[in-house]
Amino acid sequence: MFFDTPIYIIFLTLVVLTYWRLGWRSQNHLLLLASYVFYGWWDPRFLGLIAASTIVDFYCARAIARTDDEARRKLLLTISLVINFGFLGAFKYFNFFMDSFATALEALGFHHTPTAVLRILLPPGISFYTFQEVAYIVDVYKRRLKPADSLVDYALFISLFPHLIAGPIQRPDHLLPQVQAPRRFDSERFFNGLLLILSGLFRKAVIADNCALLADAAFSGRMGPPNLPVVLIGTYAFAWQIYGDFSGYSDIARGSAQLLGFHFMVNFRQPYLATSLQDFWRRWHISLSTWLRDYLYIPLGGSRDGERRTYRNLMLTMLLGGLWHGANWTYVVWGGIHGAGLGIERAARRVWPWASADTADAIDAAPPSFVATWAWRIVIFHLVCLAWIFFRAQSLGEAMTFLGGLRIWTWSAEYGLALRFLAVFSIPLLLLDLINERRGDEYLLETSWVPARVAIGVAMMAFVTLFAANQLNAFIYFRF
């Protein structure tokens, strides 16, 4: 079930109407059932997989908590991690590693190597719920969290439908207590939830899906062979598409959760207004970047073991973060660009503390000027765009060919029109971000007059109705 379809609106309405008439335990049962219906709507065969990994982790966590024998605890943790990453590896990366292995053998001169013939369907959301399960089991192992007593509560924490397919990846210590305690109807939270859903639909259906038309045309060659204008139009369009798409998804997820009395963490905080790559990762896909920091970067040693190790850890974290997005070398390169960028930024700060507008020392010494702030924003935006080219391309070859277009200058009237089209559908999102940045609100115009917020919500609905780009157009992050 996609969030931007009528069936989801009907489903959500029925769930919300029934939910608030029930007692707390019945609410959890209803939500678990609804979440499994939501997930099975794609392909009921995948329900077995999520149910199996849920049951394994639930019992592993309880067994870990019950024993003080370190060896046994470690063994149980290992079993759980092997099963979780085993499922993820088998379903998501099997073909990738087999194909890469065959390519490597070919390159070494071994021809006619047998390639994998097993083509496996990717279960929706497997990367997201695996990370959530891993966070839970690790937190229980590290005694940061008490394991859930009820299988229903734990299964609901894993499968609660607003976050199930594409996050935001919920931390056990944030969501599990909400599942385990009665929720109280809060009309302000409900209202903010409605606004978040409308804002998400606006971002997805109006901004992202329209920008996708240009990005797809540019990357597929339908706008002609790559040249400077085509590369810029395609890359900018994709930058706004993916931001609108994923932040839209996150807004709808958060909004839907709020209608049910839950609170999800903020996943995007005006990422294209970042003044450094580090700042970008504090604003982009926050639930993933903090997960990677807490469960990968810090366990690897973080910045504790000297500069060299810090650079290595940064690069490893970003490479694996890239690979998490998909089984393709393009994602690895995307992660590599960010890893290298973060490393260079770190090194530059040691030599020139003023090198980034958000360096704490630099800010303390003298707040960055308006011009410096915007100059850094533009630089960082373009670095991020460079990495997006690899993220969007189907292969490294396609990305390099596309990038090669930067050396070629040709112009046609069609490009001017494409730029105008892009401006129409990207500037509203930029303006929304500027307003949010200035006010520091978690919700759209949170501190404004309530009738004005209602009017903006209705206006968004009107825009979604009139300018939604297309037919059924899956959210990009559903693939991951």
């Binding site: 209202f191 209602v454 037919q471």
Partner: protein, 321 residues
């Protein structure tokens, strides 16, 4: 502000917001039902042609009836006014064009037209080889304008749609707004940026994959048989009309179509082989013919179609005799 007052304010705001959203949705549905057909040229043409197609064969005009259906290839590549005039002595020729349509659009579209009373003697379907074999439809628009409600599940099965896509078809079949929302958006954007049509055409995929004659024949034979069975059950003859495409890459795909049609004993017309028209007879994208190319193609089509229709007339006369 007391806590109660605060809660009441947001409860009221939620109701007003929901009511506003419902109002917008109702206004959109109303506009789609009562305004769109009047203000959009393409939509008006579609609705007019649909009405004509639905009533074909129901009047006693003393002539036989031929219904020509297809997508933009029919709209752009055939000068239908000329064709209709050339056939006018013996045939009442009507056209029904819906852009970006494929085989399944027309299988279910013709089924609905027959069900609604259309009784042509001959149905001519003009699609490219690849449009015959692609398992796609135009989407929500087809569900609204080409499909009958009872056929939706069959269509979903044919198209291998998942539950979400199927429910979307059902909604599009019920709500005119949902079915036509892409047209509404295109219409509004067209008003804001008049040259946008060209850009959007280059942004939409045009048959991106290569096919061989054998692949076409394997898939098209079954589809032609199925469509032929449908037209036959309403006493109409099926004729397959192949457009003249520029691309050399797939220029033997037509052979697969001709073989498939021959296997099913269905008449297939190919006034000019793909790749035989020079580039200057095509529009910019090289997919549709320009007016000069369309005139040439129509001149080649008229005698071939007349010959085919005459043989149909002869068969009908024999059957009556």
């Amino acid at each position: 502000m007391t806590e109660n007052h605060h809660a009441r304010t947001f409860a009221r705001a939620s109701w007003v917001l929901l009511a506003g959203c419902v109002l917008v949705a109702c206004a959109a549905e109303g506009a789609a039902r009562f305004v769109l057909d009047r203000v959009s040229k393409i939509q008006r043409r579609t609705v007019d042609e649909y009405a004509l197609a639905r009533s074909i064969g129901t009047d006693a005009c003393g002539r036989k009836h031929v219904l020509v259906v297809g997508n933009s290839l029919l709209e752009e590549d055939v000068r239908f006014d000329r064709l209709r005039a050339a056939l006018a002595d013996d045939w009442d020729a009507r056209r029904f064009v819906i852009e970006q349509t494929f085989y399944y659009d027309w299988y279910y579209g013709l089924k609905r037209l027959f069900h609604e009373g259309a009784r042509p003697d001959v149905v001519v379907v003009m699609l490219s080889s690849r449009q015959w074999i692609r398992s796609e439809i135009r989407g929500d628009y087809s569900a609204q304008y080409l499909m009958d409600t009872p056929d939706l599940l069959d269509a979903a099965h044919d198209l291998n749609l998942n539950a979400t896509q199927t429910t979307n078809l059902v909604v599009a079949n019920t709500s005119k707004f949902w079915g036509a929302r892409a047209e509404i958006r295109n219409f509004l954007l067209g008003r804001m940026m008049p040259d946008l049509g060209g850009l959007m055409n280059s942004s939409s995929a045009v048959d991106p994959f290569d096919v061989t004659a054998a692949e076409v024949e394997a898939i098209a034979a079954g589809r032609i048989a199925r469509l032929n069975e449908l037209t036959d059950s309403y006493g109409a003859r099926l004729v397959v009309l192949l457009p003249v495409l520029l691309d050399k890459k797939n220029n033997n795909a037509w052979l697969g179509m001709l073989n498939a049609a021959e296997r099913q004993r269905v008449a297939a017309l190919m006034p000019a082989a793909s790749g035989s028209f020079p580039r200057h007879l095509y529009r910019d994208a090289g997919f549709h013919l320009n007016p000069k190319g369309a005139a040439q193609f129509t001149d080649m089509l008229i005698p071939e179609l007349q010959k085919t229709l005459n043989s149909v007339l002869a068969t009908l006369a024999r059957n009556v005799g």
